[in-house]
């Protein structure tokens, strides 16, 4: 109970661990990856060095865990439960998805959740073909594995993130055929010198990516999207078209483009399940926090993309504030981290401007045909989803899942949840995010956990689900 527990080893989690440790508090830093850094600082998995190298700007940054930080890598946090005076975090540690993983439980009075976000992908005909990737997948493979997702790649979606992805693809030898931005051009937004963008440190970084694309002759088209992917076993070509202001395709502008891969990203979805398990209050689909990054639950702090999509700088600033606040809760002497707090305020202004400039507009729903898969896991087509809404008068996420099957598969609605909710006219963006078991586990792992957790009734615990082992 006397240690700060941080879940997530990206910019927010690392900053939180560093801040709390700097005040003399013991910290546990739990992360699913083998190396720290998260998605933004994704490290080269093939290098034996520990070096955070997301971009030229951070190429020489190293992060060494302070002595009083226990970094627990390869650790999947699958549950958070409230206990007397704090929370318990349940973790499986070891090779990804291997039955040999071991359970660990960390109890704390000061929990920092920094679980980040993942790409939002919108469905379109053919999006379930191999060769269609999220932008984050293309980025992770390029940065972490040195591999390109294809030889001829179309990058599509919305927001500034498309630029580093296209630039990384070029860096690992792919030919980026074009970048299709569904909203207005990022470059125009960057050139606006005042308002939210003034003094934003990432502007230079983005301008560099734009430069890389220009040098390689990569066309960057605004109000354009990939509307379909074609191919038998994997992507052979895509249809690209112009969009109107609401993202409905402009008739007659369709082009067929030869490509063996597509990387699409339409912003990010926060990884909310642990925060929801801790009963943190949400606001507009993100975890609501106060000026010290405290959530609505005593002893639980949140930082980074969980509280709003604003990029690595904001995440690190929020992480630092959360780390100091968590240390203070454990009795450390901490002065208000005024500099980090002012970086948070500036970052949030930028995040609001980003969200306003790069929203997902409703016209995407016109891209789907009746037979287009919405839920990839359970193979639920748009037709089946609409039937559930129309014939069964479904008006909430639970019944929608049960009637249509969307969101009931292995990913637990992570990929389809927001899309299915929008298609069905549900207005809660986090409607699908409640997952009591935050990451899928094997039944044998759950059984082992229940044995370890319930020593009182040893006989019942030895026979999970009433089955003799």
């Amino acid at each position: 109970m006397s240690r700060v527990v941080v879940v997530g080893g990206g910019p927010a989690g690392m900053a939180a661990a560093e801040a709390a440790a700097s005040r003399g508090v013991e910290v546990v830093l739990i992360d699913a990856a083998p190396k720290l850094g998260g998605q933004y600082h994704r490290q080269d998995g093939l290098s034996s060095e520990d070096r955070l190298a997301p971009s030229a700007a951070h190429a020489d940054r190293r992060w060494t865990s302070p002595e009083n930080v226990e970094h627990v890598p390869d650790a999947s946090a699958w549950a958070v439960e409230a206990v007397d005076g704090g929370h318990r975090v349940h973790v499986r540690v070891g090779l990804a998805d291997d039955p040999s993983r071991e359970g660990r439980v960390f109890a704390t009075r000061a929990l920092v959740l920094a679980t980040g976000a993942y790409d939002r992908a919108l469905p379109f005909p053919g999006w379930d073909l191999p060769g269609v990737f999220t932008a984050g997948a293309a980025q992770a493979l390029a940065k972490g594995q040195g591999v390109a997702v294809g030889d001829r790649v179309v990058v599509g979606g919305t927001g500034p993130f498309l630029l580093p992805v296209a630039s990384s693809l070029v860096g690992v030898g792919a030919r980026v055929v074009e970048v299709a931005e569904a909203n207005a051009a990022v470059t125009g937004w960057l050139s606006r010198p005042t308002g939210a963008m003034a003094g934003w440190s990432k502007a230079g970084e983005l301008a560099r990516y734009a430069g890389v694309l220009a040098r390689h002759g990569v066309p960057y088209r605004s109000r354009t999207a990939v509307l379909a992917a074609h191919g038998a076993e994997s992507v052979e070509s895509v249809t690209v078209a112009r969009l109107d202001r609401d993202w409905s395709p402009v008739p007659g502008t369709e082009r067929r483009v030869e490509a063996d891969a597509v990387a699409v990203g339409f912003g990010f979805t926060p990884q909310l399940e642990l925060a929801l398990a801790a009963r943190c209050r949400l606001e507009d689909g993100f975890v609501a926090v106060d000026a010290a990054q405290g959530t609505s639950v005593d002893g639980v702090f949140a930082a980074g993309e969980l509280t709003g999509i604003g990029g690595a700088d904001l995440a690190a600033a929020e992480g630092a504030v959360a780390g100091f606040a968590a240390a203070k809760r454990l009795g450390a002497v901490v002065e208000a981290p005024l500099r980090a707090m002012s970086r948070v305020r500036a970052g949030r202004r930028f995040a609001r401007a980003l969200a306003a400039a790069y929203p997902v507009r409703s016209g995407w729903q016109d891209w789907l045909r009746d037979d287009t898969v919405v839920c990839r896991c359970e193979e639920v087509a748009k037709r089946a989803l609409y039937r559930a809404v129309d014939e069964r008068d479904v008006g909430a996420a639970g019944p929608l899942k049960l009637v249509s099957g969307a969101g009931l598969g292995l990913c637990q609605g992570r990929i389809c949840g927001r899309n299915a909710a929008e298609l069905a006219g549900l207005d809660d963006p986090a409607a699908f995010a409640k997952r009591p078991i935050a990451v899928p586990l094997r039944l044998s792992e759950l059984a082992e956990e229940s044995r370890a957790e319930a020593p009182v009734d040893a006989e019942a615990a030895a026979r999970p689900f009433g089955i003799d082992r």
């Binding site: 998995g45 090779l95 990804a96 992908a121 379930d128 493979l141 972490g144 992570r414």
Partner: protein
Amino acid sequence: MRVTWDGREVEARPGQTVAGVLIANGVRSWRTTRAEGRPRGLFCGIGVCFDCLVRVNGVPDVRACQRLVADGDDIRPQRGAELPS
């Protein structure tokens, strides 16, 4: 490092993920879906979507994007829902 894909030896290095090895070796599809038998491979790349499931050393439902390869790994495609062998 000695790693096999569907019984045939493929090039692999420490630090590579199963997905990294497969894509570097030109394999893009390694699973078929339970209901309609559609081909699938890597999608989200960061452990969220569970589309890239593969069989490693007889154990199905391993995320290829998250699993690091180890010497001697026997990696095989996953067809529909499979039980551990």
